[in-house]
């Protein structure tokens, strides 16, 4: 853990600050497409990053292993890999493991060992840890690898998805990991401009826990209290990045507290008290109560974030929109980007492009998922 901590934050600053380019696209009909488009788009915003970090998240990535937790894990050395492999076989049912295929790439220097493991939770540990869900169990094990095995770091741990990231410009990372050969229905991408570290592979975005991924452009001024609040719920912010706080906050509110993204957006980017005065009573009451209870999860300071999980992609800025976000639509495709030009480069005939208001969530969902959710909500009401 110490090694990870030092790598990520060698100067022991409050938190790791970085500015960035972010991009995301989802085909809401569920059609899968390769990583070429998203690479072209993020490469167009090269000036927003400085070659110290790039990464991608892909959903719908492993249809042949859709019911397995897919762990992408980075190792600094062989020993860490052996230790982790043993840990995984002890704690999971390991179906398949392989080195993630790569290409020699000019911009990529000294890459770590990166493997993927397809895992199932076998029943034994579940019985031991009564009361925990499968997901909770996986989260606990990921935290254990990250903090206890020196030199091992889990990039992603969700089903039918994966994170590819490292030190370099995002287009180099894409080339290195051969992302043109993969297909997914939802891609997010990130180019990083860290201000205080040399950059290390684990520190690049997307940041992920289970199938949640976050790419993020911003510096959270409320970091200190967001972190202390999350600690009360058992989260340990080992990486000291704003993005990590975002990921855990989303996990707490959406997975554990079961709140929909629209509500979560109202917590992260709460409407101003003065805006509430103009709302009708039910809407206003809801917002007041959200702010009373979750005020410590108000995310203050400049940020734009693209949060994704199975079947859903959400773009959100802080409530006074101090970082850029543009949305675009063409047919079933929703695009989110730091800059409009990047969208138009890969989709010159956009139907619509707009700049969302500060704090307004832009949500893209698989139609399938949308239907399921609607019927679920109806049932709840019924």
């Amino acid at each position: 853990m110490n090694r990870v901590f030092k790598l990520n934050n060698p100067y022991n600053d409050d938190k790791v600050i970085s500015a960035c380019s972010i991009f995301g696209m989802i085909d809401q009909s569920g059609r899968c497409f390769s990583g070429e488009c998203v690479t072209t788009a993020i490469a167009n915003m090269q000036v927003r990053s400085n070659g110290l970090g790039g990464g991608f998240a892909v959903y719908g990535l492993y249809p042949e292993h859709a019911d397995h937790y897919a762990f992408h894990i980075m190792f600094l050395d062989k020993k860490a890999q052996e230790e982790t492999a043993n840990f995984l076989t002890e704690n999971f049912l390991l179906t398949h493991a392989e080195k993630i295929p790569t290409r020699k790439t000019a911009g990529i220097v000294d890459p770590p060992i990166i493997w993927r493991y397809f895992l199932k939770v076998n029943s034994k540990p579940r019985i031991e840890l009564e009361g925990l869900s499968e997901d909770d169990y996986v989260v606990a094990k990921v935290m254990e690898i990250n903090t206890k095995i020196d030199g091992a770091f889990v990039f992603s741990s969700g089903k039918n998805m994966g994170v590819f990231k490292g030190v370099g410009y995002p287009e180099d990372i894409s080339h290195y990991f051969r992302l043109d050969e993969y297909k997914g229905y939802l891609w997010t991408a990130h180019g990083r401009f860290p201000t205080n570290t040399q950059g290390w592979w684990g520190g690049a975005h997307p940041f992920s826990i289970l199938d949640w991924t976050v790419v993020h452009n911003g510096e959270i001024s409320s970091y200190g209290i967001n972190q202390r609040y999350l600690e009360m719920f058992g989260y340990r912010c080992t990486m000291q990045t704003d993005t990590e706080v975002m990921a855990y906050a989303v996990d707490l509110l959406m997975r554990k507290h079961g709140l929909p993204i629209e509500i979560v957006a109202d917590i992260f980017a709460a409407p101003l008290w003065s805006e509430l005065e103009h709302m009708e009573k039910t809407e206003k009451d809801l917002r007041i109560k959200l702010r009373q209870i979750y005020s410590s999860l108000l995310i203050n300071g400049p940020f734009t974030v693209i949060i994704a999980h199975q079947g859903e992609m959400i773009g959100l800025t802080d409530r006074i929109r101090l970082r850029p976000l543009t949305a675009g639509v063409k047919g079933d495709m929703l695009y989110l980007s730091s800059e409009e030009a990047a969208i138009r480069l890969i989709c010159p005939d956009l139907e619509k492009a707009w700049i969302p208001r500060g704090g307004e969530p832009i949500v893209g969902r698989l139609y399938q998922k949308e239907k399921k959710e609607l019927s679920h909500r109806k049932k709840e009401r019924g």
Binding site: I225, L259, I263, K289, R291, S295, R377
Partner: protein, 499 residues
């Protein structure tokens, strides 16, 4: 017995400027100044002067000044002048030395060793003159999670009280201060959207109309406590202790128990109102829980219950117990908290600085995962908006101010509140003196103070790149320490500046 006490202060009268108008004679309730008609001269008795500055500020020709009596004893670090004088006083009276206001001894003031952050480059500062900046805070117990169906919150939320600035007026009882002073506090709180606190002296019937911005106290003497008093309030506060005198009860000298005070307190006129040191129905934490719930039952769970304690060595553990005993709010009153009357030896030696108490209590409640269950109000010598904002960054939800509010109304900290004489009309029940405090002007001065501090808080928040006070609450990364030891920084949870 001839007193061996020399005068503490010396009055300097510029005879060339003095027009013998006798304003000073009339203004001084301590009868320092007298007019000799035969000689046509105004005389001053230094021995009676308390340095309240009333005559100096009201002299129409600026002929007066008060200086410290430049009396010299042989220099001695241990046997300072104050120590010698205290011994003389006790040798002459055989009593406990009383005093007023807060601890004036040179204990470290941690606020002056904490500096704030500001945004540069990586993060834009926010300009409060052009952008919204939110200070509203809700006091009350919060559940850990909301269950929401559609647009409706299914979770039952305990009562929440909004304040528009994180500054409340702390407890000062009717009796210790005049009705005009309380009226000004009540009106200023109502107009500004914050709360004031009755202290343990009951609520005068003229102030019931300010009930929705009133915190009423239930203290060990139960003075003035009856159902209507509880119904009238917005928040109920059980006073266990006070920063100026931890471990002992309230003390109102009989001189200040006038007939309206006696009616409001429900005690005989002219008698000393001495609250017992403990609540005699609270000898342990489970007893506190009973009183908390008795008050909640009495008010149908409509009002948050606050428990106020003095900051002492074990505050963190005590606060945890209070949170678990069902309180909605905890008020912590530190070493420098003020009082109308307290034994000097206690005021100056008992309790711990509020900065350390806030930090250790907030940390402990978070370690135990129960910080959401209570709001935390800090009290005890807050001098400026900087102290307030630092307290919030350490973990307080809001702060109580009292001494600063008194100073805004005219108090000059002469520390004679316990005598019943207050030339500024604040800490007195003498109608001749108390009518000096014009409630309209005092209200305006209090509102101005709240406004000034709130504007400054907004400026500092904006500088940090934050536009809502809750994003600073408990956010200690925005604080850095200068000139503190590692042990102090560990307790405060704050890092060394530059590191």
């Amino acid at each position: 017995m001839k007193t061996l006490l020399p005068p503490e202060f010396k009055i300097i009268r510029d005879e060339a400027k003095c027009i013998k108008c006798q304003v000073c004679v009339r203004q001084c309730g301590f009868e320092v100044h007298t007019y000799d008609e035969e000689e046509d001269v105004v005389l001053s008795n230094n021995a009676k002067c308390v340095a309240c500055s009333r005559c100096v500020k009201f002299c129409p020709t600026s002929a007066l000044n008060v200086i410290k009596n430049p009396l010299s004893y042989r220099e001695n670090t241990n046997w300072r002048q104050e120590v010698i004088h205290d011994i003389i006083k006790q040798a002459e009276t055989g009593g406990v030395i009383l005093t007023g206001m807060g601890n004036d001894k040179p204990y470290p003031i941690y606020w002056d060793h904490l500096v704030l952050n500001a945004s540069q480059v990586t993060n834009p500062p926010i300009d409060p003159l052009r952008e919204p900046m939110e200070l509203r805070t809700y006091l009350g117990s919060k559940p850990d999670q909301l269950v929401i169906k559609g647009k409706h919150v299914k979770t039952k939320i305990p009562p929440q009280v909004p304040i528009e600035t994180p500054i409340l007026f702390s407890a000062m009882s009717y009796g210790s201060i005049s009705l005009n002073a309380q009226l000004a506090l009540a009106r200023a709180a109502s107009e500004f959207g914050t709360l004031w606190n009755t202290g343990e002296g009951g609520l005068h019937k003229e102030l019931y109309k300010y009930g929705s911005t009133t915190i009423v106290q239930v203290a060990s003497g139960r003075f003035g406590v009856h159902p209507d008093y509880l119904y009238a309030a917005r928040v109920l506060e059980i006073k266990i202790g006070q920063g100026a005198k931890p471990g002992i009860g309230g003390h109102l000298p009989g001189e200040k128990v006038s007939s309206p005070v006696s009616r409001t307190r429900m005690i005989p006129k002219g008698t000393d109102a001495l609250s017992p040191a403990p609540h005699h129905d609270i000898y342990s934490i489970e007893d506190l829980a009973q009183l908390v719930y008795a008050l909640k039952e009495a008010t149908n769970y409509q009002k948050p219950v606050c428990v106020k304690i003095a900051a002492v060595h074990n505050s963190a553990a005590i606060a945890s117990g209070i949170a678990r005993a069902g309180a909605d709010i905890i008020a912590l009153d530190g070493l420098r908290g003020g009082t109308g009357a307290a034994p000097k030896i206690i005021r100056d030696n008992v309790g711990i600085p509020i900065e350390l108490a806030i930090a250790s209590v907030d940390t402990r409640l978070r370690q135990e995962g129960i910080r959401n269950r209570v709001s935390l109000i800090a009290a005890g010598g807050f001098r400026s908006s900087a102290d307030v904002i630092k307290a919030i960054a350490l973990g307080a939800d809001a702060v109580y101010i009292a001494t600063a509010a008194l100073v805004a109304m005219g108090c000059h900290l002469c520390q004679k509140c316990y005598t019943g004489i207050c030339n500024w009309g604040i800490a007195t029940q003498d109608p001749y003196l108390s009518k000096r405090l014009n409630p309209d002007l005092a209200t305006q001065r209090l509102i101005n103070l709240l406004r000034g501090w709130s504007l400054e808080i907004k400026e500092m928040l904006g500088g940090m790149g934050i536009n809502a006070i809750e994003s600073l609450r408990g956010n200690r990364l925005h604080l850095r320490a200068v000139g503190l030891t590692q042990a102090e920084m560990d307790v405060l949870g704050v890092r060394q500046a530059g590191a």
